[in-house]
Amino acid sequence: MTASNAPLRASGPGGSIYDLGYQGYSGPRLGRAYAIRALFAHTLRSAYGIGRGGRAKIIPIGLAALPLLIAVIGVGIAALAKQAGELGSIVEESSPIRYAAFSGLISTFVILFCAAQGPELLGRDQRYGVLPLYFSRALARVDYSLAKVAGMVVALLILIVLPYVVLFVGRVFVADSPVDGLSAELPSVPPLIAQSLLTAGVLGSLAMVVSAHTPRRAYATVGIIAALLIPSIVVAVLHEEAFGRVGDFLVLLSPTDVLDGLNAALFDTQAGSPVVVDLDLPGYAYLAAAIVMTILFVGLTVRRFLRISA
C-alpha cells in the first residue's frame, strides 16, 4: 500500500515544482485499542475544557475549584481548632466540613458539572454530524460510547476525589504527628473511595445517557437536572402523603437519594433525606441500586449509539 506510493509519485504526470507533494504514511497504525484510549483521553481533557478555548474552561474548572476551596477551609478549621485547645475540639466536632458530610456539601457542584459538561461531551458530535466520521474510523460504535462515558466518569471522579485528598493530607499533618494523623485518618479511606467511585459512576453515566439522547445542549442540561431532582421530590412528596413503605421503596429509583443512603451507610451517619432515614434500609440495598443504575445508564447510552443513524 504505502510503499507503492513512491514510484507512483515519481512517475506522476505534471506535478508542480513548488508542491512538495503528498507523502505516504508507513509508520505504525495502532488500531482500535489505541483509538479507544485516545478518545477516552480526549474526552477527559475536553470535560475540563483542555484543548479548547479559554471560555470552555471557565465553568468546569470553576466547578472543580470550589470543592477544593471547601476542603482547604476544612483543613484550616481543623488547624485553628487544634491551636485553640479545649474549645477547639468543640469547634472541630461541629465543623460541617468532614468526610461524612462532604459529599452533601459539594453535591451542587457535582450536579452542575454533570449538567454542564455531559451535553458538551456528547451533544456536539451529534449536533454537527461528526458521528459518521468517528464510526467510519478504527473504532466501533460501542467503543465510542464506552470511551465517552468513561471519560466523563473519570472527570467526575477527579472532581470528587481531589478535595478528599486535600482534606485527608491536611488532617494528617494537622494531627500531633503524621503517624498519629495517618492512623486516625486511614480508616476513612475505603469508604471515601467507594463513595467517590459510586457517585462518579451513577452521576457520570446518568449525565451521559441523557446527553446521548438529544443533540440540543439546553434540553440535555435541563434533562439531567430533572432526572436528578424530580425522582427525589416525588419520593419526598409520597413520603409526606404517607403512602407507606411501598411508596418509600421508590427511593431506590432516585439517584440522589440512593447516593445519600449509600453515604450514610458508608460513614455510619444519618442520611440527609428524611425518607432515607425513616426507611432505614441496609446499606447494601443502596449499593446494589447504585450499581444497577450505573450499568443501566451505560447500557442505554451504548444502545443509543448502536441505533443512531450516521
Binding site: M1, P13, R137
Partner: protein, 308 residues
C-alpha cells in the same frame, strides 16, 4: 484480490423503501465514479462499504475483508468524506484533523505531522489554526477531504465532494481528487450525480439507478462508438430514409438526422450512393458515440437503436 466485492447486496430501509437491490459487483483499484440520480442509492452504498449501515441481505468485502466481521480493521485503511456537514465549528482544522488521525489509529506525534502535511496538500495554510466555524464552504470541503486522507488510506470514499462549491472551487477539488488517485496510488470512489465531474476524473464507472446496477465498466466503454451511423442532410430526409429502408437497412429518423444501423463498411457506401442518387445536400456522416447521459434516459436503448 479485488478492492471491493459486493455479492447480492441489498439494503431496505422499510418494507416499501429499497435503497439497493441485489448488487453484485467486483471493483479493482482506480478512480471509480459512482453515478446515479439523487436517491439512486449512492450514499447508501458508501455507507454499506464503511459498515455505517448493515446490509439487509448479501455481503460486502473491502480489501478482501468482510465488513461485518472486520469493520474497525478495514476502516483503519479507508477514508470517508460524507456529503453533509460534519465539522465542529469551534475546533480548528489542525486540532480536528489531528484528532481524527488518532481515531484512525495513528500515534499522537505521527497524527500531528500527517495533519500538517495533509492540510498543506489540500491547500489550507495559516487559516488552519482558526476555528472552522469561520471558514468558507470551499475551505470546509478541503478540511473534510483532509480528514479523509490524514491516515493515508488505501481507499477513499467521497460523497458529492464538490457540493456547494463555485466553479473554481469545483475545479480545484476535482484536480485534488484526480491527483490523489493517480499520483498517490490511493483508490478512490467518487459518488456524484454530475456526469461531467465523473468524466473528468474517473477511469471506471459504476452507474446505479433505483438501487440497481445499471452498468459497471471502464469509462471509455461508455462513450465508445455505437453501431449507428448518423447522416445529416439539409433536405430530403424522408426520401433518404425510404431509399435506405428499401435497401434493407434499419433506419429511423431522429430530428435532423437519419440514423442507420451499421452493417460493416458497405453501409457507408450504401448511404453515399443513396445520397448521390437522390441528389441531396449532405452535411455529414458520422459514427455515433454513446454519451453518459444515455445511461439515464427513460429507455436507454431507444434513441440509438433504430428499428430495434
Amino acid at each position: 484480490m479485488p478492492l471491493i466485492a459486493l455479492d447480492g447486496l441489498t439494503k431496505r430501509y422499510s418494507a416499501s423503501v429499497t435503497a439497493l437491490d441485489g448488487l453484485t459487483l467486483e471493483l479493482e483499484p482506480g478512480i471509480i465514479g459512482l453515478v446515479g440520480a439523487n436517491g439512486a442509492g449512492k450514499s447508501t452504498m458508501l455507507k454499506l462499504l464503511l459498515g455505517l449501515l448493515e446490509p439487509t441481505a448479501g455481503s460486502v468485502k473491502v480489501l478482501d475483508m468482510d465488513v461485518k466481521t472486520h469493520g474497525p480493521r478495514i476502516r483503519e485503511f479507508v477514508g470517508y468524506m460524507p456529503e453533509h456537514d460534519c465539522l465542529p465549528p469551534e475546533s480548528s482544522a489542525t486540532d480536528f484533523v489531528g484528532h481524527m488521525a488518532q481515531m484512525s489509529g495513528l500515534p499522537r506525534t505521527a497524527a500531528r505531522e500527517r495533519t500538517a502535511e495533509v492540510l498543506r496538500h489540500v491547500g489550507l495554510y495559516e487559516e488552519r489554526y482558526r476555528a472552522i466555524g469561520g471558514y468558507s464552504t470551499g475551505m470546509k470541503q478541503r478540511v473534510k477531504l483532509a480528514q479523509a486522507l490524514v491516515h493515508d488510506p488505501r481507499l477513499l470514499l467521497l460523497d458529492e465532494p464538490t457540493n456547494g462549491l463555485d466553479p473554481a472551487g469545483r475545479d480545484e477539488m476535482l484536480d485534488l481528487i484526480r491527483r490523489t488517485g493517480t499520483e498517490f496510488g490511493i483508490a478512490v470512489i467518487l459518488a456524484s450525480h454530475l456526469l461531467g465531474e465523473i468524466e473528468r476524473v474517473c477511469t471506471y464507472l459504476v452507474a446505479i439507478d433505483n438501487g440497481r446496477l445499471l452498468r459497471a465498466a471502464a469509462l471509455g466503454t461508455f462513450t465508445e462508438h455505437t453501431g449507428v451511423l448518423a447522416v445529416e442532410v439539409e433536405e430530403g430526409r424522408q426520401q433518404l430514409a425510404g431509399a435506405l429502408a428499401r435497401g434493407g437497412f434499419e433506419v429511423v429518423e431522429d430530428g435532423r438526422l437519419v440514423l442507420v444501423a451499421l452493417q460493416g463498411e458497405a453501409t457507408y457506401d450504401a448511404v453515399r450512393d443513396a445520397v448521390v442518387d437522390l441528389g441531396l445536400p449532405l452535411v455529414r456522416i458520422e459514427q455515433r458515440r454513446h454519451s453518459l447521459e444515455d445511461l439515464f434516459r427513460d429507455d436507454p436503448s431507444s434513441p440509438q437503436a433504430p428499428a430495434a
